[in-house]
């Protein structure tokens, strides 16, 4: 039981206690608070966007900028993988 193992166990126990106390103190499951923005989106999706799917209208119309950031992350990952496996032909 070296010092590194004792420090790892203590750190893990502290994080576990913190997470369990946090899980028991959140609001009750099924009654979200402050749902005004989502209620506006649910009421006005069909007349403003014309789509039936609420999740697609949020992803591409109300919050399209986050989808732009996600497309950039996917592009960067593919570029990085192809670049790391390139073999220079001498």
């Amino acid at each position: 039981m070296s010092l590194r193992n004792i420090a790892a166990v203590v750190f893990f126990t502290i994080i576990a206690i913190f997470l369990i106390v946090g899980a028991l103190l959140t609001h009750p499951f099924g009654y979200p608070e402050n749902a005004d923005m989502d209620q506006y989106i649910i009421d006005n999706t069909q007349s403003e966007t014309g789509a039936d799917n609420g999740v697609t209208s949020v992803v591409f119309d109300y919050r399209g900028f986050d989808t732009l950031g996600e497309a950039t992350v996917l592009f960067t990952a593919v570029a990085g993988v192809i670049m790391l496996f390139r073999r220079l032909n001498k």
Partner: protein, 157 residues
């Protein structure tokens, strides 16, 4: 990697068009049923990975190079950004504006109304679904293909 036996190759080449049609259905009906660009793109990419496993990576790399896949992915990304930039016209300076809804100039994507569930109902949303679906298909298939080709063992050792 080497390919698998003849039975596996036959069944994979039968199941591949069915999976691809199901994935394209999920992409195209993204604004009516659960689904969309990312989910349908993952379905088609896993169908292409099934072909890669059944036929071997050397055969698949002989058919499709990765530079063609990167051109397709760039076309999908440029289409998505181009549709976002088109929202800056019509005098309303909003990025990502849904400019094909509630207007009378371009008559084809204009249908709007409650409960009218056709393909061309939602303005710019089906076009964005196609662009993002193409990007995800090309990107995920390129990752799997490059990794499988770079770790192949040489034949006859």
């Amino acid at each position: 990697m080497m390919g698998m036996s003849k039975i596996v190759k036959t069944i994979a080449s039968i199941a591949f068009p069915l999976s691809m049609i199901y994935g394209l259905y999920v992409i195209a009906h993204g604004h009516l049923t659960p689904g969309g660009g990312f989910q349908g793109g993952a379905i088609v990419a896993s169908a292409c990975a099934m072909i890669l496993v059944a036929f071997g990576s050397v055969w698949t790399m002989g058919k499709i190079k990765e530079k063609h896949l990167s051109v397709l992915e760039s076309l999908g990304a440029l289409g998505f950004i181009g549709l976002a930039f088109f929202g800056l016209i019509y005098g309303i300076n909003i990025f990502f504006n849904n400019f094909l809804v509630n207007q009378n100039v371009i008559p084809i994507f204009n249908e709007i109304g409650k409960g009218l569930a056709n393909i061309n109902t939602a303005g710019v949303l089906p076009l964005m679904n196609f662009a993002v679906g193409l990007k995800v298909i090309a990107g995920l298939f390129a990752i799997v293909l490059v990794m499988a080709y770079a770790t192949r063992l040489s034949e006859g050792k």
